[in-house]
């Protein structure tokens, strides 16, 4: 947890917990693929999906829960759906880590530019 220590020692270049990126998301990119939400609002409401699961993996969460309710009690048959859903959540987490690191590097760059100016 050295990041927390760094945050309280150098708060200007180390983002805090659950930072919302402040820079233009396209800064330094020629083009950037947009994230696509596959599950629709109606689908999520119809599946009574809890609010915290209504992220970009919601369609996989719905498929996994549907499989579980279809095959119960033989839920081992949903191993594939579970793996797909958890992989999606893992990729989402990695994306968050990357966003944090991008924010940190851009903050350092901004500080460097301000000092040069």
């Amino acid at each position: 947890m050295g990041n927390a220590l760094t945050h309280y020692m150098k708060p200007d270049v180390m983002p805090g917990p659950d930072v919302v990126p402040t820079f233009d998301p396209l800064l330094g990119f020629k083009s950037r693929k947009e994230r696509v939400m596959i599950a629709t609002q109606e689908e999520m409401e119809s599946a009574k999906l809890p609010l915290e699961f209504r992220d970009y993996c919601a369609h996989l969460a719905i498929a996994y829960q549907a499989c579980r309710s279809d095959t119960f009690p033989f839920v081992y048959k949903c191993a594939h759906q579970k793996h797909e859903y958890l992989t999606c959540e893992y990729e989402d987490y990695v994306l968050r880590m990357k966003e944090f690191e991008r924010e940190r590097r851009l903050l350092e760059r901004q500080k460097r530019l301000n000092k040069a100016a």
């Binding site: 947890m1 930072v19 020629k30 970009y56 994306l95």
Partner: protein, 175 residues
Amino acid sequence: MSAFVKTVCLAQKLCAANPVVARQAIRSMAGWNKDYKPGPYPQTEKERLAAAKKYYLLPEEYKPYADDGLGYGDYPKLGYGLGVEAKDSYYPWDYPEHKRNQHEPISADHDLYSEDRWSQAEPPRYSNAYYFACFLGVMSGCLALYYWLDDKKMYRPVAAKQYPSPGVKHYTFEK
């Protein structure tokens, strides 16, 4: 009543037949509780000295219970060392199981103060002010740390979770 009379007659016949039985019976009567009873409260200085000697105490150490009708005759009153538990386990006592030396006077309440029952508390190692200062030091140290670190949370280096909502665009890192 007849059974008692018969028993007495049998004893008389046995004693007449064999005098050793009578002697043995009298020997067996030694060591009754009346033999362990303390004597009467010492009234004169001479009696006091004799009682102190009887209990293996120095005359200046000997102090009987008050003779107010609830006392124990000439039995000495011991105001110290009542708790057997507080005594040193590693001292070579004459009776290690009771942690007692030969002729060491024992309290009249000895059955209460034996090792598996009650004990006089040992005096504490430090003064009460010292213990209170330790308490305040630990508590204020913990509270100071708590309030100082209250807004300094540990966290994982991740950005906020992205939830789709109208008007907000999120991007992957692919081109």
